[in-house]
């Protein structure tokens, strides 16, 4: 038996250790490989409780399922006996419903300790990510300048984005001849990769920031494509070219062929912005794209459509054919979505069997037609599985933000409202018997809350 003062010392040390863990300013969780929680500290509960669909914290993966699907799979597929499954994974939350100071982005690190245990570190990184996004833009800009330029096309464009003159460099990089003068600079973009509104957005962003940079596929005159970085900068002394002449050069567009660097930059992009299972945009990419699109629409009002897709009776597919087959159905649906929409549209997996497509400069009729096309396409597809071919269907809800006659936006101003409306339309489609597309109308009240989980039943 321990002497009294030694037992007392042990007790005090134990208490200090417990308090140390209570006060740790990051979330720490120890769980089994299936996510069953063994140990958890208070910050974890603070961050996870608002997300937990069933209001308990018995399973880490279940608590995060709604915002980060596929963690269980990723953990199960991790090939090594121990090590980092992933580090600093960003998880985007739907913040607006949960109060003004609620976290928007969590960072999750998952460490496999051995064949029985994992350790998770969870942090609210909302403020850091905002700062980082600004830095990333500056980085891209420096990179564009400092990377050794082997060849580039230098194109002068006017204030409406039309090409003002032609030179040898344009021919070298793109193959376009003199006839390109007078065309909008979107001639260098593949079909579906640019809208007239985006064309002007880039010019406005260049005015505001001093430059606008993007990377992506570009088109040569012979219709072949190449991976390019495009920098637009306002000409410093453009007033000298004539303020009144709308065809005077106003911006320089520098187009560089960086096909050789594409693999590296794509890999970086995929790790951060792609859904692990389907390769579509993840929640983070979706919310960033939506935020940018709304920001642009706030400046120059335009239409913006959102379609939410949900695989019908998906639980039955999982129950009957097993989760691996269910995953193949999700991958098939993702392929169909990717093939059906334009490059400029953001096709994302939001969670579970729920997908979203954001369509810039698109009205209700077009969005409905796109959704219907996808629905009909899916109804013809079969997915192979061990237990035979699987037929499946999807339902879709469409919502559109439209500028009103006065140029003011209607009541649904944020992405959360747009999602809510598309969600209500989707609920309507499910109610009509599934395999069906519905559109939001003001008859579906903005205030009427549909229980989030109710339609997940099918």
């Amino acid at each position: 038996m321990l002497p009294d003062d030694s037992a007392e010392q042990l007790r005090a040390e134990h208490e200090a250790l417990i308090q140390f863990l209570y006060l740790a300013p990051v979330g720490l969780v120890q769980a089994s490989l299936d996510g069953e929680i063994a140990m958890i500290n208070p910050i974890s509960a603070q961050l996870l409780m608002p997300l937990s669909p069933d209001g308990c914290l018995t399973n880490l993966f279940a608590a995060l399922e709604g915002v980060a699907p596929g963690l269980r799979l990723q953990c199960a597929q991790y090939p090594r006996a121990q090590g980092m499954v992933f580090e600093g994974l960003h998880i985007h939350l739907r913040g607006a419903e949960n109060g003004k100071r609620a976290p928007q982005i969590l960072s999750l690190t998952l460490l496999k300790l051995d064949e029985a245990r994992i350790m998770a570190v969870i942090q609210d990184v909302t403020a850091e990510v905002r700062r980082e996004r600004q830095l990333r833009q500056s980085d891209a800009w420096l990179n564009a300048i400092l990377t050794r330029i082997s060849d580039y096309a230098l194109v002068s464009i006017d204030r409406l984005g039309r090409i003002v003159d032609w030179n040898e460099s344009i021919a070298r990089v793109t193959g376009f001849g003199e006839h390109v003068i007078g065309s909008p600079y979107s001639v260098f973009y593949p079909p579906g990769a640019m809208t007239p509104e985006h064309l002007l957005d880039r010019l406005r962003e260049a005015d505001r920031n001093g430059w606008s940079l993007d990377e992506g596929l570009r088109l040569r005159a012979d219709a072949s494509q190449f991976w390019a970085s495009a920098l637009i900068a306002p000409l410093p002394d453009r007033e000298a070219f004539g303020i009144d002449d709308p065809q005077a050069p106003a911006y320089a567009l520098i187009l560089r062929d960086i096909s050789d660097k594409r693999a590296a930059s794509e890999k970086r992009r995929q790790a951060a912005f792609c859904d692990h299972l389907t390769g579509l945009a993840n929640r983070r990419a979706f919310f960033e794209a939506a935020e940018l699109e709304l920001e642009r629409a706030a400046h120059t009002p335009r239409l913006l459509a959102l379609v939410l897709f949900d695989a019908d009776m998906f639980k039955n597919v999982n129950d009957r054919y097993g989760h691996p087959a269910g995953d193949r159905v999700l991958v098939d649906l993702a392929d169909a979505l990717r093939d059906s929409f334009r490059i400029v549209d953001t096709v994302a997996r939001l969670g579970g069997e729920e997908f979203a497509v954001l369509l810039p400069s698109t009205g209700e009729e077009e969005a409905l037609a796109g959704a219907e096309r996808l629905r009909a396409l899916v109804a013809t597809r079969l997915v192979a599985s061990d237990a035979g071919e699987i037929a499946y269907t999807v339902s879709a809800g469409v919502a559109v933000l439209a500028p009103s006659a006065g140029g003011e936006r209607d009541a649904a101003a944020g992405i959360d409202d747009l999602i809510k409306r598309a969600d209500q339309a989707l609920y309507l489609a499910k109610g009509r018997g599934r395999n069906c597309v519905a559109s939001w109308s003001s008859g579906l009240s903005d205030n009427e809350d549909i229980p989030k989980r109710s339609r997940n039943a099918g």
Binding site: E15, Y22, I40, S44, A45, L47, T58, A102
Partner: protein, 128 residues
């Protein structure tokens, strides 16, 4: 005034707790954390101390939502008290929650109590 020991869901519990001695708080079957308008913990009973593994002297005088129970610092708990204080209204609500007592996830019922004006506020904890 009754002499019966109050239970977790006794109506008007805040006034009874205000009037209770430390011994009376310690005799209760549920956890009691009392705190003031600045969120500083003023009262802490034996059940809560035992469940959390912290002695009262480590807790009393500390800010509740940052240093004692960070797990409640979100819109489900802390913001409820904040909103009630902002609107100068009374708060008496019971919610299901999970506390991380001694780093184990423990399902509990929390009763959130605040008088209008918010000078005396309580979080009561009962296991479910």
């Amino acid at each position: 005034m009754t002499n019966a020991i109050p239970s977790f869901d006794t109506p008007g519990l805040a006034d009874l707790l205000d009037a209770s001695s430390q011994e009376q708080l310690d005799a209760l079957a549920f956890g009691v954390i009392g705190f003031d308008a600045d969120n500083v913990v003023q009262r802490y009973n034996a059940v809560e101390s035992q469940a959390a593994g912290l002695s009262p002297q480590r807790v009393i005088g500390e800010p509740l939502f940052t240093n004692v129970a960070p797990c409640m610092n979100n819109f489900m708990v802390a913001q409820r008290f904040e909103d009630a204080a902002e609107q100068n209204s009374e708060l008496d609500d019971t919610i299901d929650y999970v506390l991380t007592l001694r780093m184990r996830p423990i399902k509990v019922k929390l009763r959130l109590l605040a008088s209008a004006g918010g000078a005396h506020r309580y979080v009561l904890v009962q296991r479910r």
